[in-house]
């Protein structure tokens, strides 16, 4: 912060450098956080954010540079050492024990004991209640945390960090798993942390969040710091240009040629998930499916793809009613679905990129029961080129790729089946800005080539940018259908949240 002297700073890291072999992944990076300050770090995937966090959290040791905490030089040899200094990292993947209650999770590792050396449940319960009250977290601390929502679990992790007297809290993309309402709640919580003098390092791909919550922002690109400024002094374009090293070209929508209705749902229902959903997607059209998390969008996609049985209504493909028995039948009918959960439903983590991209339609690369590997390689090479996937080779294990490149590989997989209908569920989740733009272009190109496309996204910007038409869902029903011209964050949000 301007005017702050060194001893005022909570964290003062200078010249942090990290190499892996010959590869410098972090180069001479400075980062300071004052007590009660939220310092955002932005950058594309591969810019060095994760490495920086890992150094601050004691997972990696820096090859160069120094760190001071409250004016004293510190050296973090392990995550435990970081914790001992009051530095707590909260990862996207939460580290709570799902079968234990909130009380037990918060005291895990340092249980309170009574005079007989037994667990002192009463005192732990009382302390937990007090803590939750102080942070205005409203949950029942006695049920297993696995039964709570992701958002609630995240808050418990933060509460746990506070309970061990965290001074510096590092939140690694905490909003990636939350919908808009929950983000508000999280930000309120961060506000309370600030007022308690806790420093926060905040990582997010959503730039608008930076403007809402952060005091200062540091931009990383290719392992170097390209800027640190108070948030009030910068704007969106500045951030993007620092992140990608060039001006962000603004998007102009092209008018696409629309054809016949390819996919049509009429009154489709699935008990407990959605009701009376009717929609049409034409060839060459991108239809956005917006709504809050839990509105039933993914469930509709699953029903179209044959993963979920629907109890009522009709689905038509090219005018003919169909009832799909499963993903295999859907794939054969020319439907492709890219799941929102890459890790659980997308990746074959320990297989090469090549195999990951062709598993959806091996028949295409098979003659007389035998795989034609050269044909397969040709397809994969083409997709890698087309999607600009960055990797050392198509034999690279897919889990070694960055999130954006993994996602691109899965988009390539969707194309292996030569689909007429494509459903993209959160196509840019956990993907950086550069890859995001490429994915948008890829989806638009597909539409231009005549595919019927359904995009599910919780990011307003994304839905608005991509869609010709937007269907907003709320509590399992269609709440509104908006033409491109009438779609804005406001109109969508209003339809998604208000009855």
């Amino acid at each position: 912060m301007r005017g702050a002297t060194m001893t005022d700073l909570l964290l003062d890291a200078r010249g942090l450098t990290k190499r892996f072999g010959d590869n410098v992944v972090l180069r001479d990076v400075d980062l300071s956080v004052a007590p009660g300050e939220v310092h955002a770090i932005v950058g594309e995937n591969g810019a060095g954010k994760s490495t920086l966090i890992k150094i601050l959290g004691g997972v990696h040791r820096a090859d160069g540079g120094s760190m001071r905490l409250e004016g004293r030089e510190i050296s973090l040899s392990s995550p435990q050492a970081a914790l001992d200094h009051g530095i707590v990292v909260i990862h996207q993947e939460l580290s709570l024990a799902p079968h234990l209650t909130t009380v037990e999770n918060i005291f895990l590792g340092h249980f309170l004991r009574n005079a007989f050396g037994m667990l002192d449940h009463r005192r732990m319960r009382a302390r937990t209640d007090e803590l939750l009250k102080r942070l205005s977290i409203d949950i029942d601390p006695t049920i297993p945390v696995g039964r709570l929502s992701i958002a609630q679990q995240q808050m418990i992790e933060i509460a746990k960090a506070i309970s061990v007297r965290a001074k510096l809290l590092i939140l690694d993309e905490p909003t990636a798993v939350l919908d808009a309402n929950r983000v508000d709640t999280l930000f309120e919580l961060i506000g309370r942390l600030k007022s308690e003098g806790i420093g926060v390092v905040f990582i997010s791909h959503h730039l608008e969040e930076i403007f809402r919550i952060a005091d200062r922002v540091t931009v990383l690109r290719d392992g170097s710091r390209t800027g640190t400024e108070p948030v009030r002094d910068v704007d969106h374009d500045w951030l993007v240009s620092r992140m990608i090293g060039r001006e962000f070209e603004s998007y102009t929508s092209k008018q696409r040629q629309r054809g016949e209705v390819v996919l049509e749902l009429e009154g489709l229902s699935s008990e407990g998930a959605f009701e009376a959903i009717s929609l049409q997607v034409r060839a060459g059209e991108i239809v956005g499916l917006a709504g809050l998390i839990g509105a039933g969008r993914t469930e509709v996609a699953q029903a179209i793809f044959g993963v979920r049985k629907h109890s009522g209504g009709t689905m038509r493909l090219n005018g003919a009613a169909v009832r799909l028995s499963g993903p295999r039948a859907a794939t054969r009918r020319g439907i492709a679905y890219v799941s929102e959960d890459r890790k659980a439903f997308g990746l074959l983590p320990n297989r090469p990129v090549r195999e990951n991209m062709t598993i959806s339609n091996l028949a295409r690369f098979t003659s007389f029961g035998v795989l034609r590997l050269s044909r397969e390689r040709a397809f994969v090479r083409e997709q890698i080129e087309e999607l600009d996937i960055r990797l050392s080779g198509m034999q690279a294990t897919i889990s070694t790729l960055s999130g954006g490149n993994q996602q691109k590989a899965l988009l390539g997989r969707a194309l292996a089946g030569r689909p007429k209908v494509l459903i993209f569920d959160e196509p840019t989740r956990g993907v950086d800005i550069g890859a995001k733009r490429e994915i948008y272009r890829f989806i638009e190109d597909l539409a231009e080539e005549g595919a019927a496309i359904l995009v599910i996204s919780s990011e307003m910007e994304e839905v608005i940018r991509l869609s010709d038409r937007i269907i907003v869902m709320r509590s399992g029903r269609v709440a509104a259908e908006l033409q491109r011209a009438e779609a804005s964050e406001e109109t969508i949000m209003r339809a998604a949240t208000m009855a």
Binding site: K18, F20, G21, D22, N23, V25, N45, G46, A47, G48, K49, S50, T51, K54, F305, V307, G326, P327, R328, A330, T331, R332, Y337, S339, A344, F345, G346, L347, L348, P349, N350, R351, E355, I359, S360, N361, L362, A363, T366, G369, V370, L371, L373, R390, L391, S392, G393, A396, S399, T400, L401, S402, G403, N405, R413, G417
Partner: protein, 328 residues
């Protein structure tokens, strides 16, 4: 996340592989083979007879039965499953071969014995793939059940096999190579081809790597998982063929605890118990490592009880090294 790994860096990935990665690649691809070669070199110094043709042929003949089982086991483990019943299924096929040969010819006995083994594998497969029973439990049940069948069929008494042609299958040589070894190689070649060159094989890896993702990609997970257990059962039948012929007797205790040797061979050969990673070539090498170790310990006169220690340590050390290298 993975943004720190060199391969995610723009295009220059290939040039900047870290030492760790190269190390793990070596272990993964050729490490097991290197271990086998090292073991052979060391053994040849320890004992003059080791490298003699009769001794090597002896090793090959001895490893055949477990080697064949291990090839079938590889399919199962690649899908993240396990098949504890192969030893018992082998036992069933052995007593069937013996029993049928009493009245029928080899041409009837062999297909019937193998079909029976496949049928037991089918039960495993259906239980795992469609009833949702964990592979460990399903095949543990079958281990007991199939052994019971073998005892009931024989009434507990071994059935002698007198058919000379059948005897030849397991004890004869073709082109100077023991027949059992040829059967092992045949099983191995077919399996290797199926796993690497067919959509089914590719799908087996996919199922083991991420079953849900495979299903969403249109892989018929249930069907293929079932087939994998049928293969494992059928291969146990083939292994039983070699066993019955070598011993010329249909004993209901045939193949007891062989499932553990087969699993050991697969694991030492570098196939991951977590699924989706491994190969039958690795399994062959794993089989040979265990076989050669047993052989040299025999030749140098190590106490059979002590041999057990070596074998146990080998399995643990092999898996330890692989776990380390795959984490790197």
């Amino acid at each position: 996340m993975s943004e720190t790994t060199p391969s995610s860096r723009p295009r220059d990935g290939a040039g900047t592989r870290s030492r760790q990665q190269i190390f793990s690649a070596l272990i993964g691809r050729t490490g097991v083979l290197a271990a086998l070669i090292l073991l052979i070199i060391v053994s040849s110094f320890l004992n003059d007879r080791f490298l003699s043709v009769p001794n090597l042929m002896n090793v090959l003949r001895q490893v055949s039965i477990v080697g064949i089982l291990a090839v079938g086991m590889t399919f199962v483990i690649l899908t993240k499953g396990i098949d504890l019943s192969v030893g018992s299924i082998l036992g069933v096929s052995v007593v069937l071969f013996a029993g049928i040969l009493e009245t029928q010819s080899m041409a009837v006995a062999i297909p019937l014995g193998i079909l029976a083994a496949m049928a037991l594998g089918l039960v495993n497969g259906l239980g795992v793939a469609f009833a949702g029973i964990p592979p460990f439990i399903m095949t543990l049940g079958m281990l007991s059940f199939a052994r019971g069948l073998a005892f009931i069929y024989t009434g507990g008494t071994p059935i002698p096999i007198l058919d000379e042609a059948f005897f030849n299958l397991g004890n004869g040589y073709t082109f100077g190579v023991p027949n059992p070894t040829l059967i092992l190689l045949g099983t191995l070649l077919v399996s290797g081809f199926v796993l690497t060159q067919t959509p089914f094989g590719r799908s087996v890896y996919a199922i083991g790597s991420n079953e849900d993702a495979a299903r969403l990609s249109g892989v018929p997970v249930g069907l293929y998982t079932t087939i994998v257990y049928v293969i494992s059962g059928g291969v146990a039948g083939i292994s039983g063929l070699v066993y019955a012929s070598q011993l010329s007797v249909g004993t209901p205790i045939a193949g007891q605890a062989y499932e553990l040797d087969a699993i050991a061979a697969v694991v030492v050969g570098g196939t991951s118990l977590f699924g989706g990673k491994g190969s039958v070539t690795g399994t062959l090498i794993g089989t040979l490592i265990i076989g050669v170790l047993a052989n040299i310990l025999n030749l140098t006169g190590v106490d059979p009880f002590v041999q057990q220690l070596f074998k146990g340590a080998l399995i643990v050390v092999a898996v330890f090294i692989m776990a380390r290298s795959s984490r790197a």
